[in-house]
């Protein structure tokens, strides 16, 4: 399992830089939105928490199809499914690897992008905390969506369609934490709910995803 984790991370880093690129996309969203919306800092400050969370979510989404599709195409997934590690474990490890190369760097880089979007001072800490708590859920849910679409030729957009509604609660609670934090309000409730979603998703979805993969392979 550790071998799988290392392999997936190594592949992500080698394949034109999984790391850098998730980040880069996040950065580009943070840059494009002010370009599209216009430069007034009051408006930007207001929408910053939401846009940052939406950006993180899209950055995650874009790399989801890597989780299984590459392994499916070159036949590794067949071989993994017949290997002596449980498929549920493999799914969980792959989601973890995905998080390590997208969610984690996004979380660390988010404060810098907060500056671009005029995020109020008080919001920075909450931004990092909410992303740290919420992005693992994005990876796990995404792995489930990727498992559903793995057999389909380049199901990239179908994957987005399936996964985005599933992301809604995470997004709402995550953005809410930052918004409340930025305005100095209490954040305990949305934070607890966010943690709950992450824990629940991590506990249950690998089983659903492994089932979906087995179905897709047969």
């Amino acid at each position: 399992m550790i071998a799988l984790l290392l392999r997936d991370m190594r592949l992500a880093v080698r394949a034109g830089g999984g790391f850098g690129l998730g980040l880069a996309f996040f950065l580009l969203v943070a840059v494009l939105v002010p370009l599209g919306v216009g430069p007034e800092s009051a408006t930007l400050a207001k929408i910053a928490p939401g846009i940052l969370w939406v950006g993180a979510l899209l950055a995650c989404l874009l790399s989801l199809d890597r989780i299984f599709a590459l392994d499916f195409e070159d036949g590794s997934l067949d071989l993994l499914a017949t290997a002596p590690i449980p498929l549920e474990g493999a799914v969980a490890v792959k989601a973890l690897a995905h998080w390590a190369v997208t969610g984690l760097p996004l979380t660390l880089a988010a404060p810098v992008l907060g500056i671009l979007l005029n995020l109020p001072q008080a919001g920075y800490g909450w931004l990092v905390i909410s992303l740290a708590l919420g992005t693992p859920a994005l990876s796990v849910i995404g792995a489930f969506g990727a498992a559903l679409t793995v057999g389909l030729k380049r199901g990239g957009l179908l994957l987005s369609l399936l996964v985005l509604p599933l992301y809604v609660p995470t997004l709402i609670f995550g953005a809410e934490v930052v918004k409340r934090g930025a305005e100095g309000m209490a954040t305990a409730t949305p934070l607890a709910l966010l943690a709950g979603i992450t824990a629940g998703a991590a506990a249950m979805l690998p089983f659903a995803a492994a089932a979906a993969i087995r179905i897709n392979l047969r």
Binding site: L148, I172, I197
Partner: protein, 242 residues
């Protein structure tokens, strides 16, 4: 004969062929009478004016939009646990019907919102969760369509339906948390059942019954089509093999 016998396609075809005409006629009658009664023979509400007539479309459509998803959830579970083909195909048949009902609820709601709230769209929790429900329907239908092998498609969409249901509930809760909203607010005199005057209530009941029956009719008809399509595919494949 156990109830599950009807999950056999042949039995289902026989039964549904007998039942379908009656349900269809009943659905038509309820809808026509309910809507004509509601549209032509009820007074305007003192507060909402003639827009109260939208009630007869909006509420039944909204109810059935949710109920259709619940029915899909149940049939998906039946398929996963007992592997009855009819169950999976019924879920497939119901999805577009549910989607259309959701869209009807959204459109009538939007048209109602313009006079009542002064805007087509408002990010009210109820409306928002309906929009999300529509997305779930879209994803579910798209997944059915994207997969060639019917059993694989049935399995995967069932898994999606179950996981999706959990997340749909979560979203509903999240959306409530996010915005308190206008819907159900004091602007509606019809909100509580005891406030609903009988003049409005009887045609509404008929319309609700009509929508339920229409749903049953369409699901039966479409399930029959799906079963035939499935058999057609199997026969053609067998023919190709010689």
């Amino acid at each position: 004969m156990s109830f599950w016998e009807y999950a056999n396609p042949q039995k289902f075809m026989q039964l549904s062929r007998r039942v379908l005409p009656f349900v269809a006629v009943a659905a038509g009658l309820c809808l026509v009478i309910g809507l004509v009664w509601g549209f032509f023979f009820t007074p305007d509400d003192y507060k909402q004016g003639s827009t109260v007539k939208i009630f007869y479309l909006h509420v039944p459509a909204a109810m059935m939009a949710i109920n259709a998803w619940v029915m899909m959830l149940v049939t998906s579970l039946v398929w996963l646990i007992r592997r009855h083909h009819v169950s999976a195909l019924a879920a497939k048949a119901a999805a577009p019907v549910g989607l259309i009902f959701t869209v009807i609820a959204l459109i009538t709601g939007a048209l109602w919102g313009q006079p009542m709230w002064g805007t087509w769209w408002e990010w009210d929790p109820r409306l928002t969760s309906f929009l999300i429900l529509a997305l779930f329907y879209l994803g579910y239908i798209a997944l059915w369509q994207a997969i060639d092998d019917p059993d694989t498609a049935a399995d995967l969409t069932s898994v999606l339906c179950i996981v999706g249901s959990v997340f749909a509930l979560l979203s509903r809760y999240a959306v409530n948390f996010w915005n308190q909203g206008l819907h159900q607010g004091a602007s509606l005199s019809l909100d509580k059942e005891e406030n609903v005057a009988d003049v409005f209530w009887y045609p509404a009941l008929l319309c609700i019954a009509g929508f339920v029956l229409l749903f049953v009719t369409l699901v039966l008809l479409r399930t029959r089509t799906e079963i035939r399509a499935r058999r057609l595919g199997a026969l053609l494949a067998r023919e190709r093999r010689g």
